[in-house]
C-alpha cells in the first residue's frame, strides 16, 4: 500500500467517524466546542496528515502505524474504575496529586473535577467543558495551531478528555500534579488526549506526565497539550515516556508565555515504538525564561523524533534547548530544533544543543538545528554532535582498573546525568537516575507495572471487566 492511499483511507475513515459522532457523542457539546470541532475537521481535510515529504517530517515515517486498524472509544469507562487496582505509581517519597488517564479517559472516583487547596481546579477536561465554559472559551484551542500538519486539527476535531488544570493567581501548588496516561486494552487502540493547563499570574506548578503502555497491542496516541503561562507564573513540565515497541506516540505541546513567566520542560524517553514530540513555545511577553531539556535512550528499532520550535516574538527573552540521546542497535533519532527570532525580539538570548552518542554504526541521528533571525541585537547559538564514547576517557578509566563494561556504563550515565540533574523534584530525579542506569544496563523493560514502581510485590492483575466498558 502506498502512503497516499493510506492517508486517503485514514482520512475517509476519520471524516465518517466525525459525522457519526456529531450526531451522537458530540451532540451534547456546547456551541463553542462544536464550532471548534467543525473548523478543525475542515483544517484536517485541508492540511491532511504529514508524510515524509512534509517539511519537518522527513525523518519520521508514520505510514505503517497509520495503515493499521484501531478501535476508538467515544464514551468513557464506568466511573468507578479502581485505579489503584490497575497499578501503583510510586516514585519513592514523591507526594503528588495523582491522576490517571486510562485508554483515553480520565479515571476518577468521586468527582470529575477536584478543587485543591488555594482554589486549584484539576480533573477531567470533559467535565471542565461543561463546568467552566467561560474559562474554556478564553483558553481552549487558542494556543495550538494547525501548522503544517493535520494531527493537531485531528485532535481538536475529536478531543473529548484529558487533564484540565487551572491554577488561580498567586497560588503555588504545594505538591506536583502527576498524570499517568495508560494504554491497556486487548485490542488496537487510537486515542487523542487533550490537556489544558492554565497558570494564573504569579502561580507555580510542577507537572509530571507519564506515558506508558501495558499490554502489547498496537496503539496510536495523538495528544495535544495547551499551556498558558500568564505573567510571572512558573511551570515545570516533566514528561516520562516509556512505551513499548508497538506504540506510536505523537505529542504536541503548545506553550504560550506571557511576561516574566518561566517554563521548564524535560522530556525523558526511556523506550519508544515511534515517538514524535512536537513542542512549540511562543514567547509573547518580555523577561521570559524557557528551558527545554530532553533525554532519549533508544535501541533496537526504536524511533524518537523531537521537533522544537521556540518563537521569540518579543524582546528580552532567554531560551535554551538541550537534548541528549544514546542510541544502540538500529535505533534512530531525529532532532529538529528551530529558533525563530522575530524582528521586534531584540536582546534575545537563544541557545540550542543536541548531543548524541551512537553505540553502533547502524544507529542513526538526523539533527537539524535551525536559526531564523530577523532581529540584530541577539545572542544565539546552536550545535549538534554525534559521536561515540570518548576513547580517551575509556582508556583513562580502564587504566585505573575499571573494566570496560563498568567504564562504558559510567560514561553513559555521566552523559545522561546532565539532563537528569535538571529535574528539580528530588525523589523523581533519584528514581529517574536509577531507571536510566537500569535502562543502560538493559534491565529496564516496559514493565507490566507502573514504570515508576518496578517493585515485584505490587505486581497486579487486570481487574477491569471489559464488558463494562461502553464502546
Amino acid at each position: 500500500m502506498t502512503p497516499i492511499l493510506t492517508e486517503n483511507t485514514f482520512k475517509e475513515k476519520m471524516l465518517k467517524l466525525f459525522d457519526d459522532n456529531l450526531r451522537s457523542n458530540f451532540s451534547s457539546d456546547n456551541e463553542y466546542i462544536r464550532n471548534i470541532r467543525k473548523q478543525a475537521i475542515g483544517d484536517f481535510v485541508k492540511f491532511g496528515l504529514p508524510d515524509t515529504k512534509t517539511e519537518g517530517w522527513q525523518g519520521t515515517n508514520l505510514s505503517k502505524p497509520l495503515m493499521l486498524e484501531y478501535k476508538q472509544h467515544f464514551k468513557p469507562f464506568e466511573k468507578d474504575v479502581d485505579v489503584e487496582k490497575i497499578f501503583m505509581c510510586e516514585v519513592h517519597d514523591l507526594e503528588s496529586y495523582l491522576f490517571t488517564q486510562l485508554n483515553g479517559w480520565l479515571v476518577f472516583k468521586d468527582e470529575s473535577l477536584s478543587t485543591l487547596p488555594g482554589g486549584i481546579v484539576v480533573g477531567s477536561l470533559a467535565s471542565a467543558f461543561k463546568a467552566m465554559p467561560r474559562v474554556i472559551e478564553n483558553h481552549y484551542a487558542r494556543y495550538s495551531k494547525v501548522s503544517n500538519n493535520g494531527f493537531v486539527a485531528l485532535n481538536t476535531a475529536f478531543a473529548q478528555d484529558g487533564l484540565f488544570i487551572y491554577v488561580p493567581d498567586g497560588v503555588v501548588v504545594d505538591k506536583p500534579i502527576q498524570i499517568i496516561n495508560i494504554i491497556n486494552l486487548t485490542e488496537n487502540l487510537f486515542i487523542q488526549p487533550r490537556n489544558l493547563v492554565i497558570m494564573g499570574k504569579n502561580s507555580k506548578l510542577q507537572l509530571l506526565h507519564c506515558d506508558h503502555s501495558l499490554l502489547h497491542k498496537q496503539s496510536l496516541i495523538n495528544s495535544v497539550t495547551e499551556i498558558i503561562l500568564t505573567e510571572n507564573s512558573e511551570l515545570e513540565y516533566y514528561n516520562l515516556q516509556n512505551k513499548d515497541s508497538d506504540s506510536t506516540l505523537i505529542t504536541h505541546a503548545w506553550v504560550e508565555q506571557h511576561s516574566f513567566s518561566r517554563f521548564l520542560s524535560n522530556t525523558l524517553t526511556l523506550n519508544a515504538g515511534i515517538i514524535r514530540n512536537n513542542m512549540n513555545v511562543n514567547l509573547n511577553g518580555q523577561g521570559c525564561e524557557t528551558n527545554l531539556y530532553g533525554l532519549y535512550l533508544v535501541d533496537k528499532e526504536q524511533h524518537i523524533d523531537n521537533n522544537i520550535m521556540v518563537d521569540h516574538q518579543k524582546p528580552n527573552n532567554n531560551s535554551n534547548q538541550l537534548f541528549k540521546g544514546i542510541l544502540d542497535d538500529q535505533a534512530r533519532a531525529v532532532f529538529n530544533g528551530h529558533i525563530l527570532v522575530r524582528k521586534d525580539a531584540q536582546k534575545t538570548n537563544a541557545y540550542q544543543k543536541n548531543r548524541n552518542i551512537l553505540l553502533t554504526d547502524k544507529a542513526t541521528v538526523d539533527s537539524n538545528p535551525q536559526l531564523e533571525i530577523y532581529a540584530d541585537d541577539v545572542r544565539c547559538s546552536h550545535g549538534s554532535t554525534v559521536g561515540q564514547l570518548d576513547p580517551g576517557a575509556m582508556f583513562y578509566m580502564r587504566s585505573r582498573g575499571i573494566s570496560e563494561d563498568v567504564a562504558r556504563m559510567a560514561l553513559m550515565n555521566a552523559f545522561a546525568s546532565e539532563i537528569i540533574h535538571k529535574i528539580n523534584i528530588a525523589p523523581l530525579r533519584n528514581r529517574i537516575d536509577e531507571m536510566v542506569t537500569k535502562r543502560l544496563r538493559g534491565e529496564l523493560s516496559i514493565c507490566d507495572q507502573c514504570i515508576l514502581d518496578c517493585n515485584e510485590r505490587r505486581k497486579y492483575s487486570f481487574d477491569i471487566d471489559l464488558s463494562r466498558i461502553n464502546c
Binding site: 570518548d390 580517551g392 576517557a393 582508556f395 583513562y396 578509566m397 580502564r398 587504566s399 585505573r400 582498573g401 575499571i402 573494566s403 570496560e404 563498568v406 559510567a410 560514561l411 550515565n413 555521566a414 552523559f415 546525568s417 546532565e418
Partner: protein, 248 residues
Amino acid sequence: MLSIKNLKVEIQGKEILKGINLEARAGEVHAIMGPNGTGKSTLASVIAGREVFDVTGGKIIYKGKNLFDLSVEARACEGIFLGFQYPVEIPGVSLVNFMKTALNEQRKYKGLDPIPAKEFLQKMEQTKKLLEMQTSLTTRSVNEGFSGGEKKKNEIFQLAMLEPTLAILDETDSGLDIDALRVVASGVNKLRTENNTFIVITHYQRLLEYIVPDFVHVLFDGRIVKSGGRELAIELEEKGYEWIRQHT
C-alpha cells in the same frame, strides 16, 4: 618487576620505538629523559596497554607475566599505574565515584569485598591532606575544569589511593609550581617502598633532586642510548641533547 626486551612499536606505520631494553627491579626509581617526540609517552602508554599502538616486536615481562596477555584494566589491577602527561577530563563522573569504582574494581579482581565506605572516606581525606589538595576537588567531575597543576596533583592523588607496585609518572612535574612540586615529590617519596618501582619521565633535573633516581636513561629517537646514575641527569642539563646526538 619489569623487564622490557627489544620492544618495537609503530603507529600508523611509523616506527616510534625501535628496540627498547629496560630492567627495573622492586625498590628502584628509574628516570627517563629525552627530547620531545622521542617516544617516552609512547613507551609509558604501551606498558599501560593503550591499543592505538602496534607492537611489532619484543616483549614486556611484568612480575613474570607477559603484559601483552593482559587487558588494560587487568594490568592496573596487577599494580601498574600510569600518571598521564595529559590527564583526561570526564564530565559527569565525580572524582570520588571514580576513585571508589577504581578501588573496588581492583579489589574485586583480587577477590576482595568492596571497601567499607568509612574506610574509603578516611583514606581519601588522608591522601588529600598528604598532597595538600583542595577538598572540593574530589566532588567535582574528574579533571573537568581543573587547572594544569591540579590535574597533575590529581594523578598523584590517584596513585596514592591505588597504591600500585609499578608507577609510571609521565611529566608529572610539568605544570606544577615550586611548592606543589615539593608536595608531590614528598608524597611520592612517602609511597616508595622496597616492594614498588617508579619510572619517572621528566625533562627537568629539578624533580630528580626531590625524587632521587637510582638510574637515569636517555631515550633518543626510539632507543635508550645512554643509561647511568643520577649524575647523568645533571650532565644532560649542562650539556643538552646535542651532546647525546654527537655521541650516538
